[in-house]
């Protein structure tokens, strides 16, 4: 089985978010970048599937050279080779076009992504890639098993889940509890250094959106503390001040 895992290079979930250049750019100062947590689940499941039934895992990122340490980490976790599309990921359409163009050539059985990137939270790239390639896309996927040519999944819906199945090839946007995040071991880290990381140029620069500016939410006012002996005061505040009851 040939699996493609698409990964993002995003600020660690504890990062403070701020912007520079007249609110046109994300401020990277002091920020640690990681594999997107959902992409990390997708990668972990790919590694398990490979352990069960063999095959190969390619990881792909659309990004500049600064993403290579993140890509190497994915190789250390268990991907066999990597592709970096050398371009700033301008918007979801731009990214989807790059991924689809690569996937069309390489004929993957499964394309695993995260349910959403944690920077732009679009949750869109997997559906776009599925549509461009003319194959099914399923998201958000909570479990995924392969039986012959059939992929059995559960998909989260509001208040529960549904079980779905389809034939390969297909695209899945993954989330927990699909697999446990994997931590690279020493052998993985050593071998990752020599695994192939191919840099390719973008196939198109089509975009569908353009950024005006970023902004931060207004600062939150101070908390009003209520004594533990006086829950009635909280009820009054909710009723008369917040007017939410």
């Amino acid at each position: 089985m040939k699996i493609l895992v698409c990964i993002t290079h995003v600020p660690d979930t504890t990062s403070k978010i701020s912007f520079t250049d007249g609110d046109q750019k994300f401020d990277q100062t002091g920020v640690q970048f990681v594999i997107g947590p959902y992409d990390d689940y997708a990668l972990a499941r790919a590694v398990e599937l490979k352990e069960q039934s063999g095959g190969s895992i390619t990881v792909l990122n659309v990004g500049g050279a600064e993403t290579e340490p993140t890509i190497r980490k994915a190789l250390a976790i268990g991907a066999d080779d990597a592709v970096r599309v050398n371009a700033d990921p301008k918007d979801s359409l731009f990214v989807a076009k790059q991924i689809a163009a690569h996937a069309k050539e390489a004929n993957y059985d499964l394309i695993l992504m995260g349910r959403e990137s944690i920077d732009f939270n679009g949750g869109m790239v997997h559906g776009m890639v599925g549509e461009i390639l003319g194959i099914p896309s399923v998201s958000p996927v909570m479990t995924l098993d392969v039986e012959g040519e059939t992929v059995k999944m559960s998909r989260e819906i509001e208040g529960g889940k549904e079980t779905v199945e389809g034939k390969m090839p297909l695209v899945a946007g993954c989330q927990e509890p699909i697999a446990e995040w994997k931590i690279p071991n020493m052998r993985g880290i050593m071998s990752a250094r020599t695994k192939p990381l191919n840099v390719i140029e973008p196939v198109s620069d089509e975009v569908a959106t353009s950024l005006e500016k970023y902004e931060l939410p207004p600062a939150k006012g101070a908390v009003k503390m209520v004594s533990a002996d006086n829950v009635q005061e909280l009820v009054d505040l909710l009723k008369n001040e917040a007017k939410v009851l």
């Binding site: 947590p37 776009m128 970023y214």
Partner: protein, 318 residues
Amino acid sequence: MATLVFVESAEGKIKNTSLEAVVYAARVGGDITAIALGTEVEDTELESLGKYGASKVLKVSDDRLNQGVIQAYANVLSQAMDNIGADLLVLANSSLGAPVSARVAIKQDASLVSNVTELPDTSNGFKVKRSIYTGKAFANVELTKAKKVIAIKKNAAEISESEGSATVETFSPELSDADFGVSITGVNKATGDVLLPEAEIVVSGGRGLKGPENWGMIEGLAEELGAATGCSKPVSDIGWRPHHEHVGQTGVKVSPTLYIAVGISGAIQHLAGVNSSKYIVVVNKDEDAPFFKAADYGIAGDAFEIIPKLTEALKAAR
């Protein structure tokens, strides 16, 4: 401008998040057509969309569409856009709306933006504000293609009703077997309860509750408030609560008017899922718990004493 709005239903009723989408579209302006798929919603319910601003509802009576098959839905919506000459599609950014909208955007060669939080600025182009970095920031973006798809976040438009009735028309798109390549073999969903992603009030419990046997008081409080219940990630990881209740960065993102957090420390990843709540109440026995910094109201104390008292006080205040 002609706009199509995709509406979803649960148990025969149009979902509130979809009513918001209709209201949103009506405020943007133009001619509003809604579309409902499947056979489970009565015509009278569809006609009532007129109260929110739809003039027409396309009804696609095909029982294969009683389940949310992503590819088939995308194909239907795209054909409906062609049919009415729509240049805008509006839908709720739901677990079905999101994956469907991505495919429609490609079919229609449209600009797509999800997690939209406000009405667009159409004074010069078509610009929207969207939530990014899991609610920690916003981006103002312009949709540059002629056709547009926007998936709105809860509370992007406040629902208001007026007089009106929409005319219901049958729409029969062409679907092939390929559209049903992925089949839904089972649905397992809590019924009757208030659904977490759509709830106006949410009561969540964390590891401070010590064990699943103590959730009775969380449920009691939620019931009194007509609220949905949620939890922190470790709570669903250990299996105290089902996964679909897990709130945060890697779980459900909620936008209620009131979020009550009980025995949750307020880790940044949890806050990422609740930061678009209007009001936050925190109950935690540690007065230095980080959650208090993100709260509007707080009580420092033992949840096991406070929550039953709070439930009683709410009951008395009714």
